[in-house]
Structure formats: structure tokens, C-alpha cells
């Protein structure tokens, strides 16, 4: 059946039921499209499990991050709710006060992440506070009528969730008929609470987690996109009824709290009793994610410097969306397992060792083809070389050992990286970057100790004062003690030794009688000439003076850190078999996530070959009439047709559009058009 038709633009294809096979699984396509057939099933399974792991991990992290915010919100709800209950008893208050308790939730510009936040927020509220939650989005609510409809629909449905099925029919019927007004809402609320009240003896378990007469929480997910009128109307209407049922609003705000005042006039905003809540900034959020997911040995897959750079750039320059970052990471996982046959070894060490044993001959060849492995082979003695290149079993042995090395390398890398970060993050101007991810990228890119930035940061570190130095050393000890690395005992010992030496120094200082300090001498002189002279002398003496004990020690500490860096922070691509665990085709990622269609068009049009095409048209157009001079006005039909096609293609691509002012004229739209 063709999809070309003049009367229809939409075609549905349904294979006949008997023909319809069990639809192919994802694994099938993984296998089909995979560059190499080896171990594809195992790879796919590993990929899936890793993805799942990452997903649950990120979700957990997000929950933890949001916990504080949610606690605050819940306590806010509690406060406003207790106020409502008090009011209920005081009749005077009830008639007077019409303020709606409102939480303004400033979430930041990463709108795409908000969905998740709101979902977990409503879950938390549902579990602990109230069953009556409505989530409203601007796109569903073009008018106040739609808003009320949506609101009632959601509230009445969630009511059903709590009460079991018996009420369902009744609710369904009524929902479509119900006139959506505030009165209906109040009636519904009264009946609902009454019902739960009367049912509580029987259903203690379900309702006990909610409060007495639970508040109705209405969440506006994207406050900014609501039309002013709808918001105003809703606030005004509901403020009339606030005494009759406990309503709480939550505004999700992406920009700044000022937006409330620009959206709502004073007369309306004065009806709200607003409290501000700030969520964690998305940058901190990202740092946590990177810290917990990329800078651990927990997940076998690692990202190379370029890939990480691409992901971070997309985050920083495009959307600030943590979700997108995670999505990019997920794509990395898929790509890695899909394109690299050896990724089958990209799993936990024990499992990987087992898998090495069952590698096929082809896979062994794949290992031999790895550039890093070739380098490794070349560094071996000749007999070993031959064995590695010809005998599969010895290769497997070597691979096992190398994998172990790689694992150890990672185990050491991350704690030392953190230690170094402790130092560099407190230096003025942050020569190696403020965030640990920048440091990580620098270390991955090339030997960090060869960079200028590293030089300057060491120099700055040599000027640190003692208290800073001591706290840093203490932090480092903490990091190293808590990390699983095996070789750290020694380092910890050494650092502790430094610490005790500092301690001693301090004591020594206290005991020592202070001679007249040069400062005091300075104070005596008032003559400018003398002052200058002493200052010069002082400078001289400082230059020639022997280093104090403290300075010696400081040098020693910095040198020691330097040696640690040189030893442990070797860039990953110097390690043998790094290809197995590092995903490094940043181009794929950039191409698929951060595509540049305009550049694609541009290069395609810029392509000399298509230019030739265009020029050949010009040529034929130029030659056509000269050959047939008699009818110089008559353009060849084919060329005319091609011209027409070219124009319509340009129009489709959006380069030109017919100009309104004159017939047969077009206006250029791109690249400096009108």
C-alpha cells in the first residue's frame, strides 16, 4: 500500500492478526544493529542492568536532595493547617481572614526537571498529609472553566483511590454532570471528609496517615505560563471560600518570586499568604549526581574527558537540565555496549574475570587489536609478546591481570582526586577549577602535573597558612580512610605524621621566647627614609634567611601531595585496556543530542559537489539560449522545471518566502536576509 495520496495524509497499517508475530524484542534489534555479533546477548543484558542501576541510583539521589525541601513544605502545610483548624473554632476569624496559605516554590529554570520533583512531592504529600492533591499545568487550563474542571476531576479521582471501588460508578456519573463550581467543590469536600470520618473505625489504616480534615493542595506546576486572568480569578474565587475548606496553593516558579507580583495585582496577591521555598540549584544537583555516579567505582562504565565535556557543556550552555544529563549518560551506556564488542567485560571485576575465561577467539583478536593493548605488548619481552599474540589462554590471563590493575587504578584514582580537590578548591582564583568535575576532566585529559595550571596551584599551595593546611590534611585523611583503596594505609600514616608535626611546631612556637619582631621595630621609626631602609633590609634578610621549620614542613607536604598526584592520577587512556570501560566517542553523543541542523544544511549546500550541480545548471542555462539564439526568450522546458523545483525546495527549506508586496518576488529569510 502506498503512502502517496492526494486525498489523505495519514495512513494506518495494521498487519493481519495471524501475520503479526510476537513483536521482536529490543534485544533482537540490539543484536541486529550491533557492529559485532560477539556476546551481544550478554552485552545487552549487562547494558540493561547497568541502565537500571543508574536509574534507580539517580532517583534515589534526587529523592535525598529533595528531602529537605519536602520536609519544609510539609511543616508549612502543618502550620497553615493548624491555623485553619483554630480559625474554624473562632467565628470572627472565619469571617474576617481570607488569606490563602501559599507556598512559592522556586525551582530554577530547568523546567524539564520539575516534573520529577512535582511527582515525588505529590507522592510525599499523598503518603503523609492529604489525599486531596491536584496538579495543574498551564497548557490544560486556558480558562478558569477548564481549570475548575481539571481540578475537580483530579480531586474526585484521588478520592476514589482512597475509598475503594464501591463509590466509583457514582463518582464517574457525577463528574460529567457536575457543574464545576466552588460550591460543588465544597460540598464534595464536606461529604468526602464526613465519609472518611465515619469510616475511620473500619479503615483506620488508610486514613490514619492523613491528618484530620486534610487540606486540599492545589499545585500550579508552571506558574509563569498561566494566564493572569485565570490565576486572578481562581485566587479571588477561592479566597471567598477559604473559611469553608482548607485550601493550600503551591506555585512552581522557574524564574524569581517577583513574578507573583507581576502576574497578580496587589489586590489579588494580598489575598495570598506567601511563603518562599527554594529548591537546590541545578548546578549543585548536577555536582551531586556526578559525584555519586561518575566519580565512584560503583559503576563499571566510565566517561572519557571529551564525552563528559560534551555532556557538561550541554548542561551549562543549553538547558541546565539534570534529567537531560542523565539521559545523555544513558545514551552513552547504550552506545558503548552497542558499538564495542569488548564491552562485555565492562562489569564488576569478579564477573569480568569470569567472562574473560569464556571469551571466544574472535573476541581475543578484538582485544589484541586494542591500541592500548598493543602498547602493552610492545613493552613486554619477546617471548611474552609471542605468547600474548598467539596463545589465547595466556592472553586471557594477562587480560585478567590487567583488568585487576585497572580496577585498582580506579580505586585509588577517585580518593586521590578528591584529596587534590580539597587542596585546589581552596586556592585563590581556582587555577584547576572550582568543581571537582573540572579537576577530573583536567586529570583525564592529560598528565595533570605537566600543566601550567597545576604548577601555579602548587605554588599557591606552598603559600597556604597553617590552619588551612591542617584542616585540609584532616579532610584528606577522612577521605582516604573512608575509601576502599588498599594502598592507603601508608598514605594515611604519612599524613597523620604531618599533622603531628604541625602540632609539635605549634607547641614549639608557644615555648619559644619571642624576640623583638621586625614589626615592632617598624613602629618605632617615623622617618620615611628609615622606613624604606628597614623594609629593604627586611626583604634582604628574608631572601637570605633560612626557611623556618613551618615552611620546610609545608614544602614537604606539598611535595608529598605532588608525588601522590604523579603516582595515582595518571590519565586513564595511558592505562591498558581502558577502551573496555571508557566510553570515548564524544562525536556520537554530540551528533545525536546536540545536533546542528543548520550546519548540516550549510555544509550540504556548501559541498562542492552540490555546487557543481548548481553551477552546471547555470552553465546549461547559459549555453541553452546561445545555441538557440532565435528563441532567446524561450527557456528550455527542463531547465525551467528544474528552476521551479529549486525555488520550491528553497521555500520548503525556509530560505525564501514569497514576498507579500509584489508578485513573483521572493524575500530571503536566512543568513542576513531582510
Amino acid at each position: 500500500m502506498s503512502t502517496r495520496s492526494l486525498s489523505k495524509g495519514c495512513f494506518v497499517f495494521k498487519p493481519s492478526p495471524k501475520k503479526r508475530k510476537v513483536s521482536r524484542t529490543t534485544a533482537y534489534y540490539f543484536r541486529e544493529g550491533s557492529s559485532d555479533l560477539e556476546d551481544s546477548e550478554l552485552r545487552f543484558a549487562t547494558c540493561q542492568s547497568l541502565q537500571k542501576q543508574v536509574k534507580s541510583e539517580t532517583e534515589q539521589i534526587e529523592e535525598e536532595l529533595n528531602e529537605q525541601l519536602f520536609d519544609n513544605l510539609v511543616s508549612f502545610l502543618r502550620r497553615s493547617h493548624s491555623a485553619f483548624q483554630e480559625k474554624k473554632t473562632e467565628w470572627t476569624c472565619r469571617t474576617k481572614s481570607r488569606e490563602i496559605p501559599t507556598a512559592a516554590l522556586v525551582l530554577g529554570v530547568n523546567v524539564t526537571d520539575h516534573d520529577f520533583t512535582f511527582r515525588s512531592l505529590s507522592e510525599v504529600l499523598q503518603n503523609n498529609v492529604t489525599p486531596y492533591i491536584a496538579l495543574l499545568e498551564a497548557k490544560d487550563c486556558p480558562g478558569i472553566k477548564n481549570l475548575m474542571q481539571k481540578l475537580l476531576g483530579q480531586l474526585m479521582n484521588c478520592c476514589i483511590d482512597v475509598d475503594s471501588s464501591e463509590e466509583e460508578d457514582y463518582e464517574h456519573v457525577s463528574r460529567s454532570r457536575v457543574r464545576c463550581s466552588m460550591t460543588t467543590l465544597i460540598n464534595w469536600y464536606e461529604s468526602a471528609t464526613k465519609r472518611t470520618d465515619s469510616e475511620t473505625p473500619g479503615k483506620k489504616r488508610t486514613s490514619s496517615r492523613h491528618w484530620q480534615s486534610p487540606p486540599v493542595v492545589v499545585i500550579f506546576k508552571d506558574m509563569e505560563s498561566f494566564t493572569t486572568k485565570v490565576l486572578q480569578d481562581f485566587v479571588v474565587i477561592s479566597s471567598q471560600h477559604i473559611g469553608e475548606f482548607p485550601l493550600v496553593l503551591i506555585f512552581g516558579i522557574a524564574t524569581s518570586p517577583m513574578i507573583i507580583h507581576s502576574l497578580l495585582p496587589h489586590s489579588v496577591s494580598s489575598l495570598l499568604c506567601i511563603e518562599l521555598f527554594q529548591s537546590l540549584s541545578c548546578k549543585d544537583h548536577l555536582s551531586t549526581i556526578i559525584d555519586k555516579i561518575l566519580l565512584t567505582t560503583q559503576f563499571p562504565l566510565k566517561l572519557s574527558e571529551k564525552v563528559l565535556q560534551v555532556l557538561i557543556n550541554i548542561f551549562l550552555y543549553h538547558d541546565f537540565s539534570v534529567q537531560n544529563f542523565i539521559k545523555g549518560f544513558q545514551l552513552c551506556i547504550v552506545e558503548h555496549f552497542h558499538s564495542n564488542p569488548l564491552s562485555v567485560l565492562c562489569c564488576q571485576l569478579e564477573e569480568a574475570k569470569r567472562r574473560v575465561n569464556s571469551l571466544s577467539h574472535n573476541q581475543c583478536e578484538n582485544v589484541r587489536r586494542l591500541p592500548s593493548f598493543r602498547r602493552y605488548v610492545e613493552s613486554q619481552v619477546s617471548e611474552k609478546q609471542i605468547a600474548l599474540l598467539t596463545v589465547d589462554s595466556s592472553l586471557k590471563e594477562a587480560v585478567q591481570k590487567l583488568l585487576e590493575d585497572l580496577n585498582v587504578y580506579h580505586e585509588n584514582y577517585f580518593p586521590i582526586l578528591r584529596c587534590l580537590h580539597v587542596f585546589t578548591s581552596s586556592l585563590p582564583k581556582y587555577p584547576l577549577g572550582k568543581q571537582i568535575r573540572e579537576l577530573h576532566c583536567a586529570c583525564l585529559e592529560n598528565r595533570v602535573w605537566e600543566t601550567e595550571e597545576y604548577e601555579s596551584s602548587l605554588q599557591l599551595a606552598r603559600m597556604l597558612n597553617k590552619s588551612d593546611l591542617v584542616t585540609m590534611l584532616q579532610k584528606c585523611v577522612e577521605i582516604l580512610v573512608s575509601s576502599p583503596g588498599r594502598e592507603f594505609d601508608e598514605i594515611v600514616e604519612k599524613l597523620k605524621e604531618f599533622l603531628t608535626q604541625f602540632q609539635k611546631l605549634e607547641e614549639a612556637y608557644q615555648e619559644r621566647d619571642e624576640s623583638i619582631s621586625p614589626q615592632k621595630e617598624l613602629q618605632k621609626k617615623t622617618n620615611l627614609y628609615h622606613l624604606q631602609k628597614t623594609l629593604l633590609e627586611l626583604k634582604e634578610s628574608r631572601r637570605s634567611k633560612k626557611l623556618t621549620k613551618f615552611e620546610m614542613l609545608r614544602f614537604e607536604v606539598v611535595d608529598y601531595i605532588d608525588s601522590l598526584v604523579r603516582h595515582y592520577l595518571v590519565p586513564a587512556d595511558h592505562k591498558t585496556l581502558h577502551e573496555i570501560v571508557y566510553f570515548n566517542t564524544a562525536s556520537v553523543l554530540r551528533e545525536h543530542l546536540n545536533a546542528a541542523p543548520r550546519i548540516a544544511l550549510h555544509t550540504a549546500l556548501n559541498n562542492p559537489y552540490s555546487y557543481l550541480k548548481a553551477f552546471s545548471t547555470v552553465v546549461t542555462a547559459a549555453e541553452g539560449p546561445t545555441a538557440d539564439a532565435a528563441s532567446s526568450d524561450q527557456v528550455d522546458d527542463v531547465i525551467h522545471a528544474r528552476f521551479i523545483r529549486a525555488v520550491s525546495e528553497l521555500e520548503l527549506l525556509g530560505f525564501i518566502k514569497p514576498s507579500k508586496q509584489k508578485t513573483d518576488h521572493v524575500a530571503r529569510l536566512t543568513w542576513g536576509g531582510c
Partner: protein, 569 residues
Amino acid sequence: MSLAECRSAGALEVKFVPDEDVLRHIADDAGIKVQKGKNQLIANPKRFVKKLEAISDDEAQEVLEEKSYVAVLGVCGEESMTNGSSVGGGEVYTFQTPKRSNKMAELASELAQTPGQSAVPDPSKCPEKTAKTPQSSKRSSSSQVQQKTKKNEFVSTTPYRLRKRLADAQLESESEYSASCSEEEEGEEAQKEVSTVLSHQKTPAKTKAVSTPPSRKTLTKKKDNMNDLVEEYFEAHSSSKVLTSDRTLQKLRRKRLNQQTLHDLLQKSPLAYAAEIKELNQQYESLFSKWMLQLHLGFNIVLYGLGSKHDLLEKFRTSMLQDCVHLVVNGYFPSITVKSVSVLNSITEEVLDHIGTFRSPLDQLEFIMKRFKEDSSLELYVLIHNLDSQMLRGERSQQILAQLSSLPSIYLIASIDHINAPLMWDQAKQSLYNWLWYETTTFSPYVEETSYENSLLVQQSGSLALSSLTHVLRSLTPNARGIFRLLAQYQLENKDNASYPGLSFQDFYQQCREAFLVNSDLTLRAQLTEFRDHKLIRTKRGADGVEYLLIPVDDSTLSDFLEKEDEDI
């Protein structure tokens, strides 16, 4: 413009144009605004060559810089395919700011001094000189050589556009100017003789475009009053009138091609580089199963790049989706809509076998989402050709499609062509779509996609409308046809009246009665309802509350229609 060029074929020569010129031609600088006012270049193309003293050194440098800039671009294409190191948009779309601000002044003073002895190199000598690359002309010590290189370099870096425009300008000056700028016409003659008009563009390429005055006499005159030049300069810039010729295509005395002949003609013309294109396509076809994998993993796929992706997607459909439920949407189809008519209905009616109507597309969407969430065995592949077409690019359509595509069991694969297509999506939609981008530059002609675009200026516009008109009309009673004719004639009579509101119902009724077409206004109303249902007429309520009737078809189509009707009778 190429048509115009063929006419002046005698003068036109096809030359090799170095890449950087082509680039400059396309990636034009900030300055290429509309040709303003009298800024037309009126000059003889053979004499535009101009010596530029004291600039060449810098110029060479600039050329060099541009070269490297082009090199970067060139690499970008290859790299994106292979190793793809990042090429930011900035490198492609940079504004080339002029490197010397006083260039205008320099040129002006120079103009006053040197034009007399300007040596005009014979164009026939040019080719061998052009062979020398600008690079080689860099910094030579002997002034003699330098002198020579200046010329070379000038010739070789003259932008193609400039040459073209000079030729155009010549044509333009011969032709009559449009009436819209008549007040300038008076000055035009004098202008032609007297002035050398400075190009207002600021880039180095453009400033070279100063034409030498056409006659010696005016030259001396010019020398005398530099002030004139300055005044003219500002005069040229003060007027923002767009000068367009009224040389419409009709003047070419070519009959307009209709869709069918166009199609036939194009079929006949061979596709250039078929083999390469085929190879390219095969490359993309090897990605099919990867696409399937990624679709299954929750991503959706969008294809971009030059060339029609219709065939590619069609191939994908036939090779991968034969055994699955799938929906093909031709976005380029002129009357496709997401909302009421096409896409959602296709899903609810044909995929989900649901009978019944929905109050709003949002309800319908909700229903679909619910069904797909409930029944995990349901799977649907959606192929959309041209997601960025006129009908689908609206905010609400995109929102609905995005929400659909965010369902885990709906797999969307779509193509986009428009250069600004990605602007359709904000952050929220983009995250719903969850796109993976694939560049599929196919270089194949947009046959299908453009065949529907009946708004095209070149094609016989409204042929589709015309055929539908005749079709519908043919099935009507003679009386009804007469009614429609009346309305059409009336509309044509008023076609020059820009504020023609339409024919009021009362007048129309009167006319119909006079022509014995209807006997009561009820019958007329019934007839009009039928027209309206077929979208043959539109009613509008005027400010005075009177109902006005209009045929929403452009005048030429309407007159064509009437002619045809007359033939039939």
C-alpha cells in the same frame, strides 16, 4: 535571477569561483541588507576593476585569515561524519566585522586621486592570473611585484555575487523601474550619468566594489567636488525604499507549467550523481536496526539534513515495520491536522478501534494515553514526514505530538527540513520528545514534499483548488452552479477593490432572484450551506452586521475557473 542571466548570456561567462568567495556569497556579512535606494551599481562590468593602493598588504592578510576560516568549515563536514570534533555554530555564522574602520575614507580619497590612470586589465588576461592563489601574493618585497599581485588578488577575490550584481545592475538600469518608486525615477537619469555610487556595504569585499565612473567627463567633475560624493553617500543611505523591478515572470512569455508537466519534465531530467547518492543512502540504511533499538529504549528519532528523506523513511517502514502496527503521517499534506481530523482520529479509530467522538483533542489525547498505559501490549510506530510542515508546526499540534511521543509504547520517527525547525520546540517539548538526532543528508530532490505546495509563485498556483472547484461544481445542479457563477463573477468584477468585503446576502439574493435561480431566501440559504460545507465560500459578518459572502480562492484561479466553465457550456 538565473533566468535573467541567461538572457544576457552573451556577457555572461562561467568561471571557477574559489570556495571562499562562494562562502562569502552565502554566509554573507551583517551588512547585506536590502539594496537601498539609489545604491544600485550602475557600471560597466568590464570596467569595474579598480586599483587599490596601500591596502593590499592587509588585504592579503585578510584573505589568509578567511582561508583558514574556510578550512575550518571544510573540515567540519567531514568531521561530523567521522570523528566529529565540535564545530560550534559560531564558526559558521560569524559576522565578519570590517577590520578597518577608516576604509571608506581611504577609498573615497583614493577615488578622488587615482581614477584617471586606472589601468584596466583585459579580462581575457585574467584567467592565468587568477590561477595564482592569493596566498602566494603575500608580502613580496619588490614594489613591482606587489603592484602586480594587487591586481591578481583583486581579480581572484572578487566575489561572485559582485560580478553577478554588476551584471544585474546593468540589466536593471536598462529596464523600466517599477511604479512604486516613481519619485526617484526623475533623479535616476541624472544619477546614471553623474554619479559613482559607493557601495554601502562595509566589508572589504564590498568596498572593492566601487565602480569607476562611466565617462571621463564626469570624472573630472567628480574630482572638483568631493562634497558631492559625501552628500550622495548620505543621500543613498537616507532612502529606505526598496527598488524592485516589475519584471515579473509573465513577461517572459512562458506559459506556466502545471504540476503534471512539471513532474514529467523532472522525471526526464536525469538525477545527477545517482551512484553517490545511492551509496549515501545505503549508509543510512545500515542504521535502521540501530534506530529500532533506540526507539525501543525510549528515545525518538529525528532526521535532518538536506534532501528528501521521504524515500529513506519509506524504506525504513517497508523493511522494519511490516509486522507492526504503524502510522504514516505525511506532514507536507496540505490539509493534515493533528487535532480533529487526521492524526488523533487515525489512532483512536483505526488503531484502537474506538467508535465515538471526543469533545476536544485534549480529551482524545487523554483517552489515547490512558489506553496505551493500560494495555502494555499495544505498540505503535509513528512515522512523520516533515514534522515541521505548515500544518504541524503550530504550538498546540507540537504539544500534542510531543505528549504522544512521550508514551513508552509509541515510537516516533520524524524528519525535519526547515532551517528553523528546531525553534518549534521549547525545553519542555524537547524533553517530551526525547530526540536523538541523526543527520541524513540525502541530496535527493523533494519531489513529494513540494508537489503539494500550491502556494508557489512559479507554479500554476491554485491548480489543486481549481480542480477541486470544478469537481465539486460538476456534481451540483445547474441552478447551484449558476448561483456560484454569479458570486464568482461579482467577485471578479470587484477584484481591483482592495477593500471589497464580499457580496452581501441581501444583494446576492436579489441577483439570484433576478436570474431565476432561487425563489426564496430559504433555498438560497440551503444552497449556501452546501457551498460552505465544501469550503467553496466563506461568510463574514461586516461591521454593520450584514453577512458577506466570499470565495476564498485567488482571482486568477477564479477567472481560470470561469473560463473553463464557459468552455463547458
